[in-house]
């Protein structure tokens, strides 16, 4: 039979009392993001052909690509609804021209629903 004691965690408790807390103060410190974290999308319209693969594969119907120019002189615009986007980056994988990529910007919360629709 193993010997049992009351309050075995006390050593660890006292040790932790003098340790630096594992949490940070949200009011003072900043959260560190690892470098591969998937955040808000970045769009580079230079090569975009408007093929629509990203739109077709998006599971959340968050991204739309429109051509505001003419067929010859393309002026591609991408709109992302960050309220819908689930940051899966399937669009990044799907794009044949590598126009889309992701950043580490994840501070996208807003008090207003309209602000969630962003022009990329």
């Amino acid at each position: 039979m193993i010997k049992q004691r009351i309050g075995k965690i006390i050593n660890e408790a006292v040790k932790n009392f003098f340790r630096k807390p594992a949490t940070i103060s949200l009011a003072k410190d900043k959260i560190q993001i690892v470098k591969n974290y998937r955040g808000k999308l970045v769009y580079d319209p230079a090569n975009c052909t408007g093929c629509g693969m990203c739109v077709r594969n998006c599971p959340a119907a968050a991204i739309t690509i429109v051509n505001e120019g003419t067929k010859e002189e393309r002026k591609m615009k991408a709109t992302l609804n960050v309220g819908h986007c689930i940051f899966c980056c399937q669009c990044v994988d799907s794009c044949p021209k590598k126009c889309l990529s992701y950043s580490q910007n994840i501070d996208l919360a807003s008090f207003n629903k309209e602000e969630l629709k962003m022009q990329l």
Binding site: I2, K3, Q4, R5, I6, G7, K8, I9, E12, A13, N16, A22, L26, K30, I31, Q32, I33, V34, K35, N36, Y37, R38, R56, N57, C58, P59, A60, I86, F87, C88, C89, Q90, D93, S94, N105, I106, D107, S110, F111, N112, K113
Partner: protein, 435 residues
């Protein structure tokens, strides 16, 4: 003759008396019964589900279990989305064991399409699956400790879980809903820096897990709250068909990783973990030992991961057919059934998550328990949870609407104005939380 009659009469009388007495007993005990609802909203439940508990004093006589409050129609939604889109939908069946669901789904489709994934991809799937098991079990340990009012252990185990989540974020790009699986392999490769970080985390965690195991084994208060609670014997476990750690704590080895190896588990040695306590204590021990086993698996896979591609190209349209695919989720056996009709959308998807199997034995486990032990008994099967952060106003003048933050704020300002306080002068802070 007369004597016999007399005897009979006497016996009958006695029986009547006994009946009366027991009836009286029953009546008084029935009068003493109270029915309390635990859930759908209750601090001890991390998901909405309802337990109507009949109590006699502090003892549970009966429990009626109602689940299904978070039915989101995922299976139906799958039928109107392409396989690629479904990957991310399936991943959101559960926030904690998302990888195991997407693995089961991908595996099934790969089988239908006749694709074999590269070995490196299989190894990466195993590494992520074991990391997921680690974080899920650590989460469970914390929740279980919180249910019995041991918040210090709760905080410690969640602190250690953060380390696992950091590694997961580094490998997959997100803390939960990793999005690492794709049909035909995985989406991201693992580089040597990630491997170093994983091994470093494993070394740290091993010390912590050994400490927790020692703590659970030797702390008197913990064992007073865990031993003998939520008993489900081997026979009952087989009868109710429970899976995962609940079954393994009753001595039933049902680990899919061993019985029917998938991904790279056929090459990686997995030791079965079982226990004979058949109660909450046993489930705790099984989970902690499983985590130690997971660390070994991670170490082995990181060391022996083969070089090569991480994905093969998969067709958009999947050939017609049906398939059943099984994986070992942190909570037990997870089954996916997929039927394809040759288009780019599945015809039918059916998911049997492990918690669904484990609910069956719940009523049996609850009966005869103290009220105080209900939360830990429920938590011991580790049910999944989901949550949302918008408020839906029902029956307001304008009908149902979803309020965003500004709407809620406006509502509260008006609410206070009616009572003579004007809080609209208080400015909302404009700040950015993330570096």
């Amino acid at each position: 003759m007369e004597k016999v009659d007399e005897n009979k009469e006497r016996a009958e009388n006695k029986e009547n008396e006994e009946n009366k007495e027991s009836k009286q007993n029953r009546e008084t005990s029935e009068r003493n019964r109270i029915v309390i609802p635990i859930g759908p909203q209750h601090p001890s439940l991390k998901e909405p589900s309802s337990f109507i508990i009949t109590l006699e004093g502090e003892k549970v006589v009966d429990a009626v279990i109602g689940v299904g409050y978070v039915h989101r129609g995922i299976e139906k939604a799958c039928e109107s989305r392409t396989y690629i889109q479904n990957l991310y939908l399936i991943e959101r069946v559960c926030g904690i064991c998302s990888h195991t669901h997407s693995t089961a789904f991908c595996q099934g489709i790969e089988e239908l399409a006749g694709i074999t994934i590269p070995r490196r991809a299989a190894y990466i799937r195993v590494i992520v699956a074991e990391l997921e098991r680690l974080h899920s079990h650590l989460l469970w340990l914390g929740v279980a400790a919180h249910e019995i009012g041991f918040d210090t252990l709760f905080m410690y185990s969640w602190r250690d879980r953060e380390k696992v989540l950091d590694v997961l974020a580094e490998i997959c790009g997100n803390r939960v809903n990793y999005g690492i699986n794709t049909i035909g392999g995985v989406r991201r490769d693992i580089d040597s820096e990630m491997m170093q970080d994983t091994l470093k985390m494993a070394d740290y965690l091993e010390g912590q897990l050994k400490y927790y195991l020692d703590l659970v084994m030797t702390d008197k208060v913990l064992s007073a709250r865990l031993v003998g609670i939520g008993k489900l014997s081997r026979e009952d476990a087989l009868k109710f068909g429970v899976v995962g750690p609940v079954a393994r704590a009753a001595g039933i080895m049902d680990d899919i990783r061993i019985i029917e190896p998938y991904a790279a588990y056929d090459e990686i040695p997995v030791n079965p973990v079982t226990d004979t306590h058949a109660d909450v204590f046993g489930r705790t021990v099984v989970r902690i030992k499983e985590m130690l086993e997971s660390l070994e698996i991670i170490r082995y896979s990181v060391k022996n991961i083969p070089d090569g591609d991480i994905a093969v190209k998969a067709p958009r349209r999947i050939p017609a057919g049906e398939v059943i695919s099984r994986t070992e989720a942190p909570r037990g056996e997870n089954i996916h059934y997929i039927r394809s009709n040759g288009t780019d959308m599945p015809d039918r998807v059916r998911i049997r998550a492990p918690s669904q199997a484990n609910w069956q034995g719940m009523r049996h486990m609850l009966q005869g328990q103290y009220l105080a032990d209900i939360p830990i008994t429920i938590a011991a099967i580790d049910p999944c949870y989901s949550c949302t952060d918008r408020a839906i106003v029902v029956n307001s003048e304008s009908g149902t609407e979803i309020m965003d933050w500004q709407g809620l704020r406006q509502y509260s300002i008006e609410w206070y104005k009616k009572r003579g306080i004007d809080v609209s002068l208080v400015k909302m802070p404009e700040r950015k939380f993330y570096a």
